[in-house]
Amino acid sequence: MTRVSENSSTASLKYALNRTKAKMEDLQLKGSTLKSITKPSDNPVSNVEAMALTSSTNDNIQYLKNADFALLNLNVTEKSLEELTDLLSKAKEIAIAQSSDFFNADVRKNVANEVQQLYNQSLAVANKKVGLKNIFSGTNTLTVPFDSNGSYKGDSGHISLEVSRNFFVPVNLTGEEVFFSSEDSDSIESPLQKFEQFDKSTINNISRELATKEVDEDGEVPAKPFKTRDNIFAQLQALTSALENNDPEMIQGLLEKFDNSISRLVTLRTRIGSITNSVESSKSGLESENVDHISRKSSLLDADVADLFSDINKQQAILKTTYQSTQGVMNQTLMDFLHR
């Protein structure tokens, strides 16, 4: 028969009470935070996964910001291209009207003023800013891209933004690409290309929608053609001077150039549009990804409320029973039943 001593019964009582109360404390902590994990050791694997999810969610939030910023740039660029197309269309209409011999020199002189206005407007469009950025300056964004003569002060740098992980989109067109002929548009390299720290195999194949490189038959990139005379500003200036000089033949010669410029602008607009679409779709991808992250994180970290509270109730009942049985055992000995 097991012998029971005072100390052995209090010790086992203490042990039982402690265990129940420790469990109760843990449950209460979970109940008050509604989290099933309050420290890493509660569930190391879930904790680490939740932390990775948190940073990936934060990354996505930043990518969304980047995407909004890219969209802002792209939209302003597209708007500018639209305005330019309108301006050039107007110039072309004027050129068509004035190419016949129907008008005399005086009329043409008046019309020349109108074309001069178109020139000024297109210069204003070319020097458009988004925030601090001159959007058509390449990477030399703090410099006004075109002076009043229409000569280009920017550079040929392209700016790319990461709008979702490893997905870079070019967000600017340089002044050269828009206002000069299309032959000189360079291909855009990955922003990571110049850093040897990165593994090249993963970054070389970023899709490029904009301004593909022209390659001639030998597979060589053609040397940059002389371009200063063949640009939108030069075309408008040429129209002005042709009108002033009352030279319908020259005006007629300009028609094809206007057509070329307009069709180039339309092409650029389509490309900008397709980039805008891909940014939009990556944005909605990120948003739904974040919803998934949040629900996964919640399933990792949050306590199951129904389970938790039924556990708490159960534990409370156990604790109560322990107290009641303690009351029966403690402070009662044979002494109480012996008559003196």
């Binding site: 989290k35 904790n47 940073s55 922003p191 720290q197």
Partner: protein, 487 residues
């Protein structure tokens, strides 16, 4: 007739002694480590009178304590292992709380913010305000690396101090045991009762077992010997071998930390025994200091070193956000009125991996002027964001731990492993405390005082006392009867 009185008297004495022992037991019901005592009595030596062998009453052979050496040894072993896991779990809990990011912002989120601020800078590299956000976030990274490293160092230092106090406690207990050995030997030489002193010695050994695993035996000369497993003999009879702590410099320490405390035997100060303790508090905190904290410090240093070096190596390729004069052949000027124009570090470049997390700081260039934060890979290109993008891409680049994991993965691995260790220690602690409770209850069942039992004994010995007294009364009356014959 005189026999009758003598027999009565012996019964009276025996019952009184038994009642005394009962009282002693009852009064010590809550004394720690007390083993109940009981009176060993036997019949007194019979005498032969008139051809009959006749009993002469009862005699007391001694007062024994109820005790089982093997149960005590098992209890001590249970104490050692329970204390080991308790202390380990307690210390790892503190370590773990450094890395707790469940509902607060920790290094992982701060690093994440740092990289995202470079993404924001990539959006608007012209913007000076965003540069100051980048610098602030980098400052937070610096602060948090240092916080983690300093807290780890602090905890290692706390353990050093704990070792010193534990060792002085141990020495006190060792001397106490030696002292008790002497007293017990003296009393037992005089045939005295040593039960209470033995109880005290058992308590001392239990306390010693909390610090490390103890083994005890009595040698061939009857001396009581206490040994620590893995260390050697600490008490032989009256003689003690005390422990001592000494501070060692980095090369001689067992954990490659400066000024860390090592334990030695007082007589052999050149030979550290720090790593040799088994079980108990000492082994637990030494393990936390030499293995867990050490690993964390190394990991954090490695992460900090990789992080600062990688950011620097990219940042050095960039150009400052100021107009830079170009030479006649188009090469940008190396320096301007505000200092260098390229090749600037973002963080101060750590020379070695060791201590990198503690010494991390922003470079003087970045501290001094915001325009020194280089986002551009080309000079005079305020809109060029390639350096900013490249730095932000480091977040997902496998640059930590032999180039196979990203910084974040490495950091999360570190947290994961400390979480696992802590969880394991907590489970072990729960389990071993269960085993300890069981061992304790086995001991208490055997040696503990039961008031019910003692009450029953009290009633029993009271009755026996009364009966013996009645016997003497009867003898008295018989005497009277005999004496009245003459009247």
């Amino acid at each position: 007739m005189a026999d009758l009185l003598g027999i009565g008297k012996s019964g009276l004495f025996a019952s009184k002694k038994a009642l005394e022992v009962t009282g002693h037991n009852m009064s010590n019901v809550n004394t720690e480590g007390y083993s109940r005592q009981k009176v060993i009595q036997s019949t007194a030596i019979p005498v032969t009178t008139g051809g009959f062998i006749q009993g002469t009453g009862v005699k007391i052979d001694g007062i024994n304590r109820v005790n089982d050496e093997f149960i005590d040894k098992r209890l001590n072993a249970a104490i050692s292992s329970s204390k080991f896991y308790d202390a380990r779990s307690e210390h790892l809990n503190q370590v773990e709380s450094i890395f707790n990011e469940v509902d607060s912002e920790g290094l992982n989120q701060i690093l994440n913010k740092f990289f995202n601020s470079f993404r924001e800078l990539a959006n608007q590299p012209e913007n000076e305000t965003i540069r100051s956000v980048v610098r602030d976030n980098a400052g937070l990274v610096v602060k948090d690396f240092r916080r983690i490293r300093e807290t780890l160092d602090l905890q290692a230092g706390n353990i050093d101090r704990k070792l010193a106090t534990s060792v002085s406690d141990v020495n006190q207990i060792l001397n106490h045991v030696a002292d008790l050995n002497g007293k017990i030997a003296t009393i037992e030489a005089q045939q005295g009762e040593s039960g209470d002193l033995r109880d005290q010695r058992d308590v001392a050994l239990k306390n010693l077992s909390e610090e490390f695993k103890v083994h005890t035996y009595t040698d061939e000369k009857g001396r009581f010997v206490v040994t620590a497993q893995g260390i050697g003999t600490l008490v032989t009879g009256l003689h003690t071998q005390e422990l001592a702590v000494i501070s060692k410099n980095k090369e001689h320490s067992s954990n490659n930390m400066n000024g860390s405390v090592e334990i030695v035997l007082k007589d052999r100060p050149s030979q550290a025994v720090t790593g040799k303790f088994q079980g108990g508090n000492l082994a637990a905190i030494i393990k936390v200091r030499n293995e867990d904290l050490k690993k964390l410090q190394d990991d954090m240093d490695g992460i900090a070193f990789q992080f600062t070096s990688s950011v620097n190596s990219i940042h050095r390729q960039g150009f400052v956000n100021r107009p830079i004069n170009l030479g006649p052949d188009g090469t940008p000027a190396q320096a301007d009125s505000k200092g260098l124009t390229t090749g600037l570090d973002f963080f101060t470049q750590p020379l070695t991996k060791e201590g990198a997390a503690g010494s991390i700081d922003l470079s003087d260039a970045v501290k001094g002027d915001l325009s020194n934060i280089s986002a551009a890979l080309a000079p005079n290109a305020p809109g060029d964001n390639r350096v900013a993008i490249a730095i932000s891409k480091l977040q997902h680049e496998r640059i930590a731990g032999e180039d196979s994991v990203t910084l974040e993965e490495k950091y999360l691995q570190t947290i994961g492993s400390i979480g696992l260790e802590t969880g394991k220690a907590r489970l072990d602690a729960e389990q071993s405390s269960g085993i300890l409770a069981q061992a304790n209850s086995i001991r208490e069942r055997l040696t503990g005082v039961s008031i019910d039992e003692e009450t029953a004994n009290m009633v029993r010995y009271q009755h026996a006392y009364e009966a013996s007294a009645k016997m003497m009364q009867a003898a008295d009356e018989m005497f009277k009867t005999v004496l009245e014959l003459k009247r």
